[in-house]
């Protein structure tokens, strides 16, 4: 489903975020990207979300070279993608319901369909009862779960997450990772960047280790 083909990203200033990366992820897989700080995990995800463009090489998604998509095709590309961020990026002046419905409003769905899907997504992360709260009124773990609900509400085939447990204590981290695993169980391909090695160890599954912008190893 995803193929990085000799991808190099050189940032302005000459520093390479990733260098000659080759990586393949099949549909339905759950892959952890690990590595030290500065290893290039975020850069890899940015290339998938078209927040950055590859300097060399091809980023292929379902056989399409997304690295060369024209700027006007970016919105549609992103709508097919679920994204979870370390700082969850919820809008503080909107309710949980409104935050989760944002991708569907952008996609132009009708109001009734939006309400139905938002409630289903909130139910999946166990926060249906908090739909009219503001994000500030939720705990950090709950906020991250709202972020995950927003990422899956548009039913993406691929979900990418950058340090989704970065701000959470070990128990909450495990809870979030179990949530990802459950969503992966219904067929969503997942690419999760984390430096929480202990947690990844505990969960098992495929693990890609980055070092200095290159793939230095894999574990299964």
């Amino acid at each position: 489903m995803i193929r990085f083909d000799n991808v190099t990203k050189r940032y302005a200033g000459g520093h390479e975020g990733v260098s000659e990366i080759c990586l393949e992820v099949d549909a339905g897989e759950l892959v952890f990207l690990t590595g030290h700080s500065g290893a290039g995990k975020t850069t890899l995800l940015k290339l998938l979300a078209l927040i950055e463009r590859p300097t060399r090489g091809q980023v292929l998604l379902n056989g399409r070279n997304v690295g060369r998509l024209p700027a006007r095709a970016i919105p549609e590309h992103r709508r097919g993608l679920g994204m979870v961020f370390q700082d969850h990026k919820l809008l503080p002046d909107r309710t949980v319901f409104e935050n989760v419905s944002l991708p569907l409003i952008i996609a132009g769905l009708g109001r009734r369909e939006i309400a139905r899907r938002v409630r289903a997504a909130l139910d999946q992360v166990g926060l249906l009862s908090r739909e009219s709260s503001r994000p500030d009124a939720l705990s950090t773990g709950e906020q991250q779960r709202v972020g995950i609900a927003r990422a899956v509400v548009g039913r993406p085939r691929l979900l990418i997450a950058d340090e989704p447990t970065g701000n959470l204590d070990p128990d909450l981290s495990l809870e979030i990772m179990m949530l990802f695993r459950r969503l992966n169980g219904v067929g969503v391909t997942m690419l999760i960047a984390t430096h929480d090695l202990a947690l990844v160890q505990e969960l098992g599954g495929r693990r890609v280790i980055l070092e200095g912008g290159r793939v230095s190893g894999e574990q299964d």
């Binding site: 975020t42 991708p103 952008i106």
Partner: protein
């Protein structure tokens, strides 16, 4: 299609809702826009009133033809007859020297001065009343021709100052267009700047929307509607300012008009004028919003 319309209506109302949420700031912006629009609109009303006044005076464009002293009354009659044949002339009245003298004596004020004289110093006079539709240029030509007549001493055309007033009005009218143009640019800048701040304040929201796959059109729309409301609000404010101004001036004008025994009515802002103000406000608001949006929205790219 219905969904599309619903979304636009929602955007439109949401934009108004945001303005209503911060009434002080919004009203201030709307007031500034309104005053900028009211200025040319108000001046335009003044000039229109000036035109009506000038038009009223222009219809009284009679001119007097003084014959040389010593010319016979018969000569005056001949001249009057030929003038009456002119298609621009409505009526010619002959005031003989004797009648003029009698008039003077009756009015009293010059009695002492005139009784001492042996013979009548006044000439025969023709008062020419042009047709209302006669063009000013042809009348001036006619007056010049008459002046060349050997029996004519001088021709007095009393319309020069009306023409001068018209020239001034034309000058002021151009000035208003110039001012309106400059003030329209000012409105565009005001709206553009307000919306630039608005964009800055909602940066987080814009970034998230772009991350979630919002198109440029989607991100742009709420700001364009904000510009729309600013423009419309400013236009309405301008209309209120002009109406209040007219109400304030209405009393004194009526009194002045009564003093002169004239039936001058203060001209208001016609329907088309009101529409121009509203339309101008709307266009300026939208253009300002468009500038702000096209300059600042593309600069906002999401980071993770």
């Amino acid at each position: 299609m219905r969904l599309w319309l619903t979304r636009h209506v929602q955007n439109c109302l949401a934009a108004m809702g945001r303005l209503v949420q911060r009434p002080a700031g919004s009203l201030l912006t709307i007031a500034v826009i309104g005053i900028a629009l009211a200025l040319p609109a108000g001046l335009n009303v003044l000039v229109r009133n000036g035109e009506v006044l000038a038009g009223g005076w222009e219809s009284a464009r009679d001119f007097s033809v003084y014959l040389k002293p010593g010319e016979e009354l018969a000569q005056a009659a001949t001249l009057a007859k030929s003038l009456s044949a002119n298609s621009n002339v409505d009526d010619v009245e002959i005031i003989s020297a004797e009648a003029a003298l009698a008039d003077f004596q009756q009015s009293g004020s010059f009695e002492g001065a005139l009784t001492g004289l042996d013979n009548n110093p006044l000439p025969h006079t023709l008062v020419v009343r042009p047709r209302p539709e006669a063009p000013a240029s042809e009348l001036a030509e006619l007056a010049r021709e008459l002046g060349k007549d050997t029996s004519v001493d001088q021709v007095r055309l009393d319309t020069e100052w009306v023409e001068r007033l018209n020239a001034i009005l034309e000058f002021v009218r151009r000035g208003i267009w110039l001012a309106a143009g400059l003030l329209a640019i000012a409105v565009v800048v005001i709206v553009g700047n307000t919306i630039r701040l608005d964009i800055e304040n909602r940066r987080a929201e814009i970034e998230v929307a772009k991350l979630l796959g919002a198109t440029d059109a989607f991100v742009r729309r709420p700001f364009l509607y904000t510009g729309f409301w600013y423009g419309l609000g400013g236009g309405l404010f301008a209309l209120v300012v002009v109406l209040v101004g007219l109400a304030v001036l209405g009393g004194p004008v009526a009194r002045l008009s009564a003093l002169y025994g004239a039936s001058f009515q203060l001209q208001g802002l016609a329907g088309s004028g009101a529409l121009t103000v509203l339309g101008g406000g709307l266009v300026a608001g939208l253009v300002g919003a468009w500038f702000a949006v096209s300059q600042h929205l593309t600069a906002i790219q999401p980071k993770i």
